[in-house]
């Protein structure tokens, strides 16, 4: 079945790269579209770009050719030319020469490599920027699961004006921010407004304390793991880590209490859900039991 000309032969034997890059590209594309976790989306993005790079590099392949760096006998400065035969030396004596077609066949095409150097750099830049966005989103919404983010945005949509307004308002003058917020309140239920105030960092500056406390303690549980991974001295690290939530909780009002209890047993996504529900709870009624269910 591998006779010449059959598509199997075409794709699997002679042009394997062209098949592999397509597969990689599809994997990446599917991850970018379908995955729910932003980080997984980014991983998909990297695979996607890598596939394209593979394609370009495959274009650069040339049978019987070496890397596009002059062999010693073609070195423009002829430093190595003395070791080779005389014909070369006399060429190298009067400077570099234009290689003839035969010698050109000996080197592979430099252009694709250059292009891919550029593409790689662009990919790195995009990735770094996207990671920063993920951090920012996590700060704002306490999760990097797309559906949860959308849910929270929905929650803010009702009964609030776009957060751009909030920002421009209380960055311009706080006095008007006081006047502007109640204007938006009555439309929606009471619950969205504290969550809204979590939405934009600059509102947080002026917003009521319970929300900020809840948010910090919501992001808190990351801390001990990260520190354990960081410094080998886990004893002191783990000794201090429960201490910190206590201080935060003690400084905070009773509403911030549920979080330390919700923390230890929850996995990341579960924890995010717990915190979010807990915030709803704190907004509506200070009953600490809700996050458990």
């Amino acid at each position: 079945m591998f006779e010449d000309g059959s598509i199997i032969n075409e794709l699997f034997i002679e042009r394997l790269n062209y098949l592999i890059y397509v597969v990689l590209l599809l994997i990446g594309l599917h991850a970018m579209i379908a995955k729910n976790n932003l980080i997984k989306k980014l991983i998909g993005m990297s695979i996607f770009q890598t596939a394209i790079i593979l394609f370009y590099v495959s274009v650069g392949v040339k049978e019987g050719a070496t890397i596009p760096i002059y062999l010693p006998e073609h070195d423009p400065h002829g430093s190595h030319a003395s070791h080779s035969d005389g014909n070369e030396t006399e060429q190298s004596n009067h400077g570099p020469v234009v290689l003839d077609a035969e010698l050109v066949k000996g080197y592979s095409n430099p252009l694709p490599h250059v292009l891919m150097l550029t593409a790689i750099v662009v990919g790195v830049a995009t990735l770094g920027l996207a990671l920063a966005l993920c951090l920012r989103i996590y700060q704002g919404y306490g999760t990097i699961e797309e559906d949860e983010i959308l849910a929270k945005i929905e929650g803010q949509e009702m009964g609030t004006k776009p957060s751009v307004v909030v920002k421009s308002v209380d960055s311009s003058k706080p006095a008007t921010s006081q006047s502007a917020k109640p204007a938006s309140k009555p439309k929606g239920s009471s619950s969205p407004s504290p969550k809204r105030s979590k939405a934009s960092p600059r509102t947080k500056a002026k917003a009521t304390s319970p929300t900020t406390k809840a948010k910090t303690s919501g992001a808190k549980p990351v801390s001990p793991k990260r520190k354990a991974a960081a410094s080998k001295s886990t004893t002191t690290g783990s000794k201090k880590s429960p201490a910190k939530p206590k201080t935060a909780a003690s400084k905070s009002t009773t509403k911030a209490k549920p979080k330390p209890r919700a923390k230890p047993k929850a996995k990341p996504t579960a924890r995010a859900k717990a915190t979010s529900t807990a915030k709803k709870a704190t907004a509506s009624k200070p009953k600490p039991k809700t996050p458990k269910k």
């Binding site: 397509v22 570099p96 010698l103 750099v121 662009v122 770094g128 500056a205 960081a230 080998k232």
Partner: protein, 249 residues
């Protein structure tokens, strides 16, 4: 959602496979990409035009130097954008999230790194400077150099690294890198050529036009290296601390 997303994905796949049939022979020297006057010119004339043995470097820094300048700009943009996104985004309560590490950094790690760092940095310079005759160049050297600073941050902590290379200085260095690159282009423009026409530098330096390109490429690569080094480190510093640049690793 997942099911739906398969449809466009598979469509794209079918499209690409369909095209893959029509591609020229695998790796044949007569394929348009390899046989085009462009690539043959790069291969045959690089030595004559620029006297640089490494064609990739020549194409990167000279033939397509304009691309590479914007490539550097892209790196610069990434650094600036990350700063813009993360700068004081975590609000006033951010101090609550800084973890003070009481214990000393591990002695074995730090001492090993003490030994390694100089070697790494020397190697970075080598990669940068030797890019003309061997694989390497500004980006690679810059990344290695940036990695050395990241290594400091990993083995001690970020504050130690930032004490040696503050983020403000990162911005300055990155900007200087671009200014160096563009400045060489500008200078060669003032000397009567087009933008980035390094050959014109022969008017003020005692070298042939080809060697002028040769040396200008080195300068350009240095500019790239500066930018990449600074941005790599500032990216790490910002991302690892959510832009607070305090505490953490």
């Amino acid at each position: 959602m997942k099911k739906l997303s398969l449809i466009p994905v598979l469509l794209v796949g079918a499209l690409l496979i369909y095209a893959a049939e029509d591609f020229p022979e695998w790796g044949s020297p007569s394929a348009p990409a390899s046989a085009s006057p462009l690539s043959s010119h790069f291969i045959s004339n690089t030595g004559v035009d620029t006297e640089v043995p490494n064609m990739v470097t020549a194409v990167l820094a000279d033939y397509r130097g304009f691309d590479t300048m914007f490539e550097t700009v892209v790196v610069f943009i990434a650094g600036m954008a990350v700063l813009a996104i993360l700068k004081n985004s975590s609000g006033p309560n951010s101090k609550k999230k800084i973890f003070h590490i009481e214990t000393e950094p591990d002695i074995i790690v730090t001492n090993t790194v003490r030994l390694l760092i100089p070697v790494i940095q020397i190697f970075a310079f080598y990669v940068l400077a030797h890019g003309h005759v061997s694989p390497g160049g500004g980006f690679q050297g810059g990344v290695v150099m940036g990695a050395s600073f990241i290594m400091i941050a990993l083995s001690w902590d970020l504050d130690t690294a930032l004490a040696r290379f503050p983020v403000e200085r990162c911005t300055v260095v990155a900007g200087l890198g671009i200014i160096l690159y563009g400045g060489i282009g500008l200078l060669s423009m003032f000397l009567g050529g087009e933008f980035l026409d390094y050959a014109e530098l022969a008017n003020i330096f005692p070298v042939s036009r080809e060697m002028a390109r040769y040396h200008a490429m080195l300068g350009v690569e240095i500019g790239v290296g500066l930018t990449v080094t600074a941005i790599m480190f500032s990216l790490y510093a910002n991302l690892s601390t959510e832009g607070r640049l305090k505490g953490g690793l």
